[in-house]
Amino acid sequence: MENLVYIALFAPFASSMFAALFGMSPRQTFVGIVASSLLFISFVASAILAYHVYSTGTSIHVTMMEWISAGDLTIPFGFLVDQVSVTMMTVVTLVSTVVHIYSIGYMDHDKSFNRFFSYLSAFVFSMMILVMSDNFAGLFIGWEGVGVCSWLLIGFWYHKEDVTREENPSISPSWAANEAFIVNRIADLGMLVGIFIIYWNVGSLQYDVVFADLPNLSSSVLNAAALALFIGAMGKSAQFPLHTWLTDAMEGPTPVSALIHAATMVTAGVFLVIRANPIFSMTPEVSFFIAALGTFVAFFAASMALVNRDLKRIIAFSTLSQLGYMFAAAGLGAYWIALFHLAAHAFFKALLFLGAGNVMHAMDDELDIFKMGGLKKAMKWTYIYMGLASLALAGIPVFAGFFSKDAIIETAFNEGTYVLWAILVITAGMTAFYSFRQVFLTFHGDERYKEAGIHPHEMYKFVLIAMSPLAVLAVIAGFFMGGFQEFVTKLLPNYEMSHHTHELIWYLTAIVLVFAIGGIWLAYKKYAKGLKRDEKLENSFVYKLLANQYYIPNFYEAFITKPYAMISEMMWKNVDMKIVDATVDGIAKLIYKSGDGSRKMQTGNLSNYLNWMAIGAVLLLVVAALSAMLG
């Protein structure tokens, strides 16, 4: 079993290194094939491990070697395969494998094909470290590793030029990449502080040691640690106010969006909260804050998705919104539900993104859904996939999203947090609306793309086949909910609805369904027949507010980015040059000037010298006399 752990972990690494060997040479299809096969091996290993953990109920703990050891601190490279991590491993490797195969088709024409696979596999490796590590420092390695890979992949098309925010809200891939990295770093500082708090209070960073020692810690320490760790999670999972990078990250190639910015990396924050659930369950205030923030983000992101015209950005907002759901569940203590939604969401959201990638591919990288329409004829399979994924996302029964999202909404009701419940229900309606608005605008109605002279075509067959596992899972994943609960609650605290909620469950489901179907119906009514633009609505304040993401990016630019640059400039030119350096030079000048000044004493006239000598002699005599008198 230990070997399997290493295979699961290092197969992506091998894949990355292999692709890197050809990183600077022109496109070679076999690189993609080898990378995909290695990822598949990793998936198989993960699946076997999952089965092992499921069947035996025991976790596998391996320690590869010691990493850092200084003072009393010892951090090993240790890997833990238990119910939680094996779930994540399976999900990550499965989605990754699909995305890798998908990328062979999608990146077909890109000259940096090999480089892309190198980055993508490196990302999977980092993600595996993140989920498999048995300590917080190892988690942090993966945490930063995925950050870097995300930076590399968002900025994959680095050669694109910066444009204004009006032209492209993300400015340029390299700009978006830097934004993502820096915003994540802000959160990483929180994460580091959390690690420090844990270390100085527990003396170790191993999960088992830390969790065993938690009852001995004071509540303020626990609160601080929980809050700091959650700040870390906020960055990775793009929670408000660190959310702006996620939509800008859509500048990366679409497979990247599917893998990193939908299925895996952004859920790392949720994973952290689930992993560290003993800490969070002991800090109800912080947990409630998480739930409240999650609910807010769910609504907030969904509202922005309502009016967006960019295919990928809509999905990105929906990802943000679903992450909010997950945090709501985790914050309310329903860790296993959060994990389940995480997995289900990974499947249907990746599917949705890959479908969007197909559309993009067909539309020559056009992303404005107002310029699409009627694509279902040309792209039947993509239409079906995206339709399924949207149904799952909207939470229509039998699809995966129904079970997971409904459970979260019920949890909110069950906990008695009715405000959160109400917001989540409304958000469910909004989710249904925007996801079907997108489906209808893209695939139904009049064929607006013809104006631009685009001839859409379906994606390669093997790509479509590769996507099928995700489609299947998007449909059926929900049926495994019971089994999943039984599986993960061996590790995670079980969360059961109260008797009262149980009685009301049909009503609750019905309410959510009414909202969801209402959303779909509204979208159908408005967009299925074709695009009728409403000038008045589009010029209204609310519409503009939403379309501009509440002007938050502009706010950040005006109040953080620009002042920072300005202060830096001022620090350099005014403080460093004019004060600090000028002081040093001033001292040097003073010495130089005093020398220059005293040079004038050197008149060459003996008489003057004698005068000076006399002055000196008198002074010395006075000093001698005084000291003689005083001493």
């Binding site: 040079r599 050197q602 060459g604 006239n605 008489s607 004698l610």
Partner: protein, 100 residues
């Protein structure tokens, strides 16, 4: 009765006169004269102290001072002559060639 302090005061006064000369004079020869005045002032002090303390060391010092003064004059006057031949003047204001 004339005490040591009388002599010392006279010595100090003469010394100061010499000092004034040194400071005031611009002519090198006159400067030499002024230094002689100062040397003599010191000699008086030495002799007086020697007398009042019954110690010959003071006289010895005065004696050597005279010897040094003699050598100084011999060499110094030689130099003055050389200077005068070269520049035609002994005025310090005209001899300021070492201006920094």
């Amino acid at each position: 009765m004339i005490g040591l302090s009388h002599y010392l005061i006279v010595s100090a006064l003469i010394f100061s006169i010499g000092l004034i000369g040194v400071l005031r004079r611009r002519n090198l020869l006159m400067l030499f004269f002024a230094t002689e005045v100062m040397l003599n002032a010191v000699n008086i002090a030495f002799a007086a102290i020697s007398h009042y303390y019954n110690d010959l060391a003071g006289q010895m010092f005065a004696f050597f001072i005279i010897a040094i003064a003699a050598s100084e004059v011999a060499v110094g006057l030689g130099l003055l002559i050389v200077l005068y031949k070269k520049y035609g003047t002994l005025d310090l204001d005209d001899l300021a060639s070492m201006k920094g």
